[in-house]
Symmetry: C2
Subunit: 110 residues, 2 copies
DNA sequence: AGAATATGTGAATTACAATTCACATATGAA
DNA sequence: TTCATATGTGAATTGTAATTCACATATTCT
C-alpha cells in the first residue's frame, strides 16, 4: 500500500542476521579471524554459500576482510555485534519460546 | 549439508525483526499501546497484514496483548527492544552504508 | 436476536532471499 | 608459464516468509 519509507531503517540490519548460517559464522568469528575455506570446513557448509553470506555480512558492516597472501581473512566487527548478540540471547532465554524450539528443526533436509 | 543446529539460536529473533513493517510497528508502539485497526491506519497498511505481523512479533516476545472490551491492545516489551533498536541504529549510522540506502527502494510497488 | 465493530485465521499466491553450480579471477609455487 | 590453491561472482533454481483474500469468531449495543 504505502511505500514512503521515511523513518526506521534498520530492518535490513536485522534481516541480514536472520539466518542460521550467518549467526553461525559470527559465532565462529567471535573466537578467531578465519578465511572462507576454514569457515566452510568448520561449519560443514559449501564454500560458495559461506562466501555469499560473508558478502552480505560485510555489506552491513558486521565483518571486515583483510588480504593476506592468497587468502582473505574475515574478522568480526565486535564493537556492536557482541553486545547485540548478548542482548538477543538474553531476550530469547527470557521471552521467546518460539526461538528456543528452533524453526530450522521443521525444515527439510536436502 | 549439515543440519545439526546445536548452538546459537537467535536467528529467528533477528529474522522476525527483518521486515520494514515490523520495525514500523515497533516504532509506533514505542510511543503508545495500540490496537490492530489503529496501527493499520497509522501505517497505512492492510489490517490483516498488520495482524499477521503482530502474531509473529508476539510469538517472539516483542509485544504483549491485553484484551479491553472488544479490542486487543498491543504494547511493546520495552525491556530488551529499546536497547536493541538503539544499538541497531547506532551500528547502521556508523557502519552500514547498505542499510542507509534502503533495499526497499529497489522493490517493486504493487 | 440481529447488527455493528474489532480481530483472528488458514490457504493460495507472490515476492524475494538463500542456495547451487559453473565459471572467472587472483596469488604463489614449481 | 603452467599448476595448484583460494576466493569471487552471476544467473538459475529453490525454499520460504510475506501478502492477500475470503471467511470465522468474539464482543458490545440496540
Amino acid at each position: 500500500m504505502n511505500n514512503s519509507h521515511a523513518k526506521s531503517r534498520c530492518n535490513l540490519f536485522f534481516e541480514t542476521l536472520g539466518t542460521r548460517l550467518k549467526i553461525d559464522i559470527i559465532t565462529e568469528l567471535k573466537h578467531e579471524a578465519l578465511n572462507v575455506n576454514e569457515l566452510a570446513r568448520k561449519l560443514n557448509q559449501e564454500r560458495s554459500k559461506v562466501s555469499h553470506a560473508l558478502l552480505s555480512l560485510s555489506e552491513c558492516g558486521f565483518v571486515n576482510a583483510r588480504k593476506e597472501g592468497k587468502r582473505r581473512i574475515y574478522s568480526l566487527n565486535k564493537e556492536t555485534i557482541i553486545p547485540l548478540i548478548n542482548l538477543a540471547e538474553r531476550h530469547v532465554k527470557k521471552y521467546c519460546k518460539a526461538c528456543r524450539k528452533q524453526r530450522t528443526e521443521r525444515r527439510k533436509t536436502k
